[in-house]
């Protein structure tokens, strides 16, 4: 006899389904509780990510070091970049909520998984954008500073006079490069940890479904 047929016979036997019967009140208590599904966690973490990057751009606004930018063209660039950053933030926010709202537990398993991954993807893109944005604006501002900041130019002239111009540039580039790499590594490690744990099962099952379509 086919193994599964034997199992089916047993599966549908009445006495085999003697699960503890829950009462009306048991179920009522259950619907009052909070969900702990991965969708909820992805939603919370995503909002924190959006919040983190927005707070970061706000906190830099009042940074004292920025005052010296006011004498150079960097202040126009920074203003432009800030506006651009907000437009992109709202765009991603809009996409995120649109994706989030399409997640429905009554879709097929495959569509549900795709929609969750799409929501996650949006936030991933936003984070990637921010990292590139951070690197890009650092380079641009640094470039302008070297060209226009009187204090910095004085330092460069001094270094050149001593024959240390190369060392001065190299030191600046290495320090900035190291700082950016460190920030990047910490953030990527953090994401890898959070989402690796959260999405491990979903990823595995999604690949399993995809494999069946080949």
């Amino acid at each position: 006899m086919d193994e599964l047929e034997l199992l089916k016979k047993d599966w549908n036997r009445k006495d085999n389904n003697s699960f503890p019967k829950l009462s009306y009140n048991d179920i009522y208590k259950m619907i009052l509780k909070r969900s702990s599904s991965i969708v909820k966690w992805i939603f919370i973490i995503s909002l924190l990510e959006f919040g983190f990057w927005t707070a970061l751009s706000f906190s830099f606004k009042d940074f004292d070091g920025f005052e010296r930018f006011n004498d150079t063209d960097a202040k126009y660039i920074i203003l432009g970049l800030t506006v651009f950053g907000y437009v992109v933030l709202f765009y991603f926010f809009f996409l995120f909520f649109k994706n989030y709202r399409t997640i429905s537990v009554t879709d097929s398993a495959k569509v549900l998984m795709e929609n969750i991954l799409k929501t996650r993807q949006t936030v991933k893109h936003y984070v990637a954008f921010n990292l590139l944005f951070m690197i890009g604006s650092t380079i641009i501002v640094l470039f302008i500073e070297f060209k226009q900041d009187s204090e910095l130019i004085a330092q460069v002239t001094q270094a050149t006079a001593n024959g240390n111009a190369f060392m001065f540039y190299a030191k600046t580039i290495v320090i900035v490069g190291l700082a950016l790499t460190l920030v990047l590594a910490i953030l990527l490690g953090f994401y890898w940890l959070i989402y690796g744990i959260l999405l491990k099962k979903l990823d595995r099952n999604y690949h399993e479904l995809k494999k069946m379509e080949l």
């Binding site: 089916k8 699960f19 495959k110 595995r204």
Partner: protein, 164 residues
């Protein structure tokens, strides 16, 4: 209005709760994990209930939400994985000492099903619940042909687990 919705939902779930229990039985292997998954499926059902239009049967709708929760939304605790491995080993040891009675065969079968992956379990579950391939393919979101092919592979896999 909300109270009415609540009442109708709870009454329906109370009546059909066996479906949820059966999903939990396949996807978990201890009492705590069973209750945990049951709780999460109940919440997901309740959250989706306002959109349930009754164009499909409540039970059919429950299969979908139940399996989606087990496969996609729910995060297993580490504890339950350990128990599963433990059970499987125990069954294997026992198998060598017992006669091949039907009861023993069933025990082995259940432990074999527990060793399948989540998607394979879903196929087996829907098969055991007498769903046709059209329903299986719609629930998982794959084509009917692929559902059929995969089902045959699962049968082979079960045979291999039982007779290594």
């Amino acid at each position: 209005m909300d109270k009415e919705l609540e009442h109708s939902f709870i009454a329906l779930l109370e009546e059909h709760q066996n479906i949820v229990h059966k999903v939990c039985r396949l996807y978990t292997n201890n009492y705590d994990a069973h209750n945990d998954l049951f709780q999460e499926i109940t919440i997901q059902l309740w959250k989706a209930y306002p959109k349930f239009r009754g164009d499909s049967k409540f039970s059919t709708w429950m299969y979908r939400v139940g399996l989606n929760t087990a496969i996609t939304l729910y995060r297993k605790s580490k504890r339950s994985i350990k128990t599963q491995e433990f059970d499987a080993v125990q069954f294997k040891i026992k198998a060598e000492h017992y006669d091949d009675t039907e009861e023993q065969q069933l025990k082995l079968l259940y432990s074999a099903v527990h060793q399948l992956n989540d998607i394979e379990k879903a196929l087996v579950f829907l098969y055991l619940e007498d769903k046709n391939y059209k329903e299986i393919s719609e629930t998982l979101g794959i084509s009917e042909v692929n559902a059929r092919v995969k089902m045959n592979r699962v049968k082979t896999k079960l045979k291999t687990i039982l007779n290594p």
